[in-house]
């Protein structure tokens, strides 16, 4: 496992994290996951639906549903001011101080994650008031500058979410999340619901903001094309475990694990040279056994 320990203490470290349903503590949905996110870098978590990538992201800020629990592991967060903290040990009140202020999250569906009865300006300003106590004209000015930063005219602060397009709504979500200048941004498939052209714009925006504000970013996706565009480090998840991790060049150009290879092989390429291939699970231990027995059966039959 290629973890990067060259800096004194990274922004976020997940150590041997495991998540299971409360009713079935032995059935691990996330199994022994370790990840490192550095300041100013993007770590991508790639995997299919159900591989546990969203659960991993949710567990960082203690947002797991009531039916699930962390069975093991630490979430070490170092914001550079108050030293290293284990977020799993914090109570709800202390977690709330971190959520939105130091760690922010962007969700997949910009349509469902905005409140339809509040103006976008109000929703962007909410965390500023809560965490930093910004009010009045100062708040208005800050909201205007945030909107400009994500490429929406400041005059639209009084619009409601339904008056914006999907891409604009995702920009609003981004403005909300960076309002308090968090140290870590968690983006859970932020462009999956968007058009390709809009997706390219949003990826560019996120990358610029990350550099300008020197944030660390945890980016969850199932699309290797997106990974190639945005990642510094990549972790590949399969059935709740990280099967491979390393720098983007390592994982994309020299994938070691058969699952990574299989997943990369089924991404359609832009030139159409590569034949389409369904995902290949022949490498799995249970399938290996089946292959062996069928080979033996053939032998005995012959």
């Amino acid at each position: 496992m290629a973890t990067n320990l060259n800096k004194a203490s990274p922004l976020l470290q997940l150590q041997q994290l495991s998540i299971a349903p409360k009713k079935m503590p032995t059935r691990l949905l996330v199994n022994n996951v370790s990840l490192t996110i550095e300041v100013g870098k993007t770590t991508c978590v790639v995997g299919e639906s159900g591989s546990g990538k969203s659960l991993t992201a949710l567990s960082i800020m203690g947002l797991l549903s009531q039916q699930l629990q962390l069975t093991a592991g630490k979430v070490l967060f170092n914001d550079g001011q108050s030293g290293e903290q284990d977020l799993t040990k914090l109570d709800e009140a202390n977690l709330r101080k971190i959520r939105g202020a130091k760690i922010a999250m962007i969700f997949q569906e910009p349509m469902t994650s905005l409140n339809p009865v509040l103006t976008i300006g109000y929703q962007i300003g909410e965390s500023l008031t809560t965490h930093l106590g910004v009010k009045g004209d100062q708040l208005k000015a800050k909201i205007a500058s945030l909107l400009e930063m994500v490429g929406i005219p400041a005059g639209r602060a009084n619009n409601y979410p339904d008056e914006l397009s999907g891409g604009q709504r995702q920009r609003v979500m981004i403005a909300m999340s960076i309002a308090c200048e968090p140290r870590l941004l968690i983006a859970d498939e932020p462009t999956t619901a968007l058009d390709v052209t809009v997706q390219a714009q949003i990826l560019k925006l996120l990358d610029e903001l990350k550099t300008r504000m020197n944030m660390g970013m945890l980016f969850i996706t199932h699309d290797f094309g997106v990974v190639a565009d945005i990642a510094d480090y990549v972790a590949v998840m399969f059935r709740g475990e990280i099967v491979e991790s390393g720098t983007k060049m390592q994982v994309l150009n020299k994938p070691q694990h058969p699952y990574t290879q299989a997943l990369l092989a089924c991404v359609p390429d832009a030139e159409g040279k590569k034949p389409l291939k369904p995902i290949d699970y022949a490498w799995l231990p249970e399938n290996q056994q089946i292959l062996q027995t069928s080979a033996q059966n053939l032998k005995t039959a012959a």
């Binding site: 290797f224 994938p255 997943l263 359609p268 832009a270």
Partner: protein
């Protein structure tokens, strides 16, 4: 000489949109603005463009699921826009659709067997036993089993549901299938399976596809010809190879430039 199986000439469709204060004013949006396409038998024509470019409206208007303002849709020499309800229902047997969202397009209260068999029932094709046999054969063909007939849609994964959607469309042995973003809601790993299935079925059943997508990587693999739409107009129309190599229109170049992972090294093969 290749004959077009489905041809659309000068389609126009306008929507009225409420605007102004309290939505008292109205403004017109041209969803289709003088659109003409032709689908060759046994080929795949892809329609690409961003949301709001009119690609789904085009699909719906072709199948007469929405009335046109003007223009004609020719299927096997008949103008679909002029047919009445009963005549249209007969023709529709040959025109089927696979929808984008496998979670929303299957009735949650019907069993998969009923969903797939409904078309046969409506068109009164064969006896009950024959219909049953056809449904089973179709389910097997798309990779599901006979036991799946008794299950409800919620018991399946996204990829399996899309297989049900495909079985439902193909059980009537249509000539033309309109696929409206059939893989955009699926994982990359499942995407390839469904695309390959669609390709195989096309070869077996001599289907012609109208394939709507915004993912140019997918289109590159499945389409023969491609139509690029922007704000209700066709901005470019031609063979896939030509358009990918020498896009003429500014908008097409933008779309191609927005493809994620263009510079990704080819690996894993």
């Amino acid at each position: 000489m290749t004959t077009p199986i489905l041809q659309a000439n000068n389609l126009v469709k306008t929507y009225t949109q409420r605007s102004g204060k309290f939505g008292f004013g109205t403004s017109l949006v041209k969803a289709l603005d003088d659109v003409s396409i032709s689908l060759t038998e046994g080929k795949t024509l892809a329609v690409v463009g961003e949301s709001g470019s009119g690609k789904s409206t085009l699909a719906r208007c072709l199948l007469q699921l929405q009335p046109l303002d003007s223009g004609e849709v020719l299927f096997a020499g008949q103008d679909l826009a002029k047919l009445d309800g009963a005549a249209l229902r007969v023709v529709r047997k040959n025109l089927q659709m696979v929808f984008q969202d496998p979670f929303a397009s299957l009735n949650p209260r019907m069993r998969v067997g009923e969903i797939v068999g409904e078309g046969l029932l409506i068109h009164g094709l064969g006896s009950g036993a024959e219909q049953q046999r056809k449904v089973i054969a179709m389910l097997n063909r798309v990779g599901l089993t006979e036991a799946d007939m008794q299950k409800y849609p919620h018991e399946f994964s996204g990829g399996q549901r899309q297989r049900v959607g495909i079985a439902r469309a193909l059980v009537l042995q249509p000539k033309v299938v309109v696929c409206d973003e059939p893989v955009s809601a699926l994982d990359v790993s499942i995407q390839a399976q469904i695309l390959l299935l669609l390709k195989e079925l096309q070869a077996e059943m001599a289907l012609s596809y109208l394939f709507i997508s915004h993912d140019l990587r997918v289109v590159r693999h499945i389409a023969d010809d491609i139509v690029v739409m922007h704000q209700g107009k066709i901005v470019e129309y031609g063979a896939v190879v030509d358009i990918y190599q020498q896009p003429q229109h500014e908008y097409t170049r933008n779309l191609l430039a927005a493809m994620p992972g263009k510079y990704m090294a080819l690996v894993g093969n």
